[in-house]
Amino acid sequence: MNEAAPSTLNTKVGQAPGWRGMVADWSSDQQAFKNVSWGKAMMWVFLLSDTFIFGTFLISYMTVRMSTTVPWPNPSEVFALEIAGHHLPLILIAIMTFVLISSSGTMAMAVNFGYRRDRRKTAILMLLTALLGAAFVGMQAFEWSKLIAEGVRPWGNPWGAEQFGSSFFMITGFHGTHVTIGVIFLIIIARKVWRGDFDDGRRGFFTSRKGRYEVVEITGLYWHFVDLVWVFIFALFYLW
């Protein structure tokens, strides 16, 4: 990739400030996103498309919730747990939120150390991120089993509107799938970092190209997006 990189990508492109600069970028020849590599730009475009997928899920949830005549189950009670004799509303979801935010924090630091070429710290922080992600998926599996045992199905539940189950399984299921894919992605990249692939120019197994530390940031973008989606799910599904 290095030898094929167009020179415009690397030279400091003059940056007119504000709106004028943006119009200049967009109307320029060949490349609208100056100083942004194709990998990063494509990850952003993918995340944009994913935004629309989760957006439509949340909007369909809003629609069924607003239009049903049957009372919606109270998420605060549905997701409550008894811990050491205390009845805590929504506690598992709160813990999951903190775990995911922590994983975002470790990921942000991994990206930082990646750009400082600190192989060891980058790999350790990425693996820690993956571990927190796996913990999140584990808690989600627990939550799903608990609700299924209590009789929640996509077509009905003991507490109220039937659409609760279908919205819940669809939205959290899709999000959990994203987290799982992210964990796998993190482990693969962490292994490459640890082995020093980006320092000694080892070619990738699949693409036969040399990788760069930037892939750590691209993985990070995906991971932060997963956290971002959870912010919206937490607010709109669990707290509303």
Binding site: M22, V36, L48, T51, F52, M66, S67, F98, N112
Partner: protein, 111 residues
């Protein structure tokens, strides 16, 4: 290392910045959990939930995803299109109100 030079602007941030943002995300999450814990209701609940949600989302996108340091061409290309989802929300609110009205007017009476 021309590639590295292209990204010098993203490696300058001290770790402290990420720790501060992390702390704020914790505080905001705790606040939104407390909204539920104390059982706030009505417009107060909704506005607080949405406020904390937007603040958290903004911090993640701006700092963790480095959007604050990207060129405007990319920032606008990514952040403007999701705004049309707001139009979609508006359309579906009208639609749900109509569906709810129809159900209440024609179907609920017998059940």
């Amino acid at each position: 290392m021309a590639q590295a030079a292209a990204h010098t602007d993203t490696q300058q941030h001290p770790i402290r910045l990420y720790l501060v943002v992390w702390l704020w995300l914790f505080i905001l999450s705790a606040c939104s959990y407390l909204v539920d814990y104390f059982g706030l209701v009505g417009y107060l609940r909704w506005s607080l939930i949405l406020l904390f949600m937007m603040l958290k989302a903004g911090l993640i996108v701006a700092v963790f995803m480095h959007m604050a340091w990207e060129r405007l061409a990319l920032t606008y290309a990514i952040l403007v299109p999701p705004l049309v989802l707001m139009v979609f929300v508006g359309i579906m609110v009208l639609e749900s109100n109509y569906t709810l009205f129809s159900r209440l007017a024609f179907f609920v009476a017998g059940s």
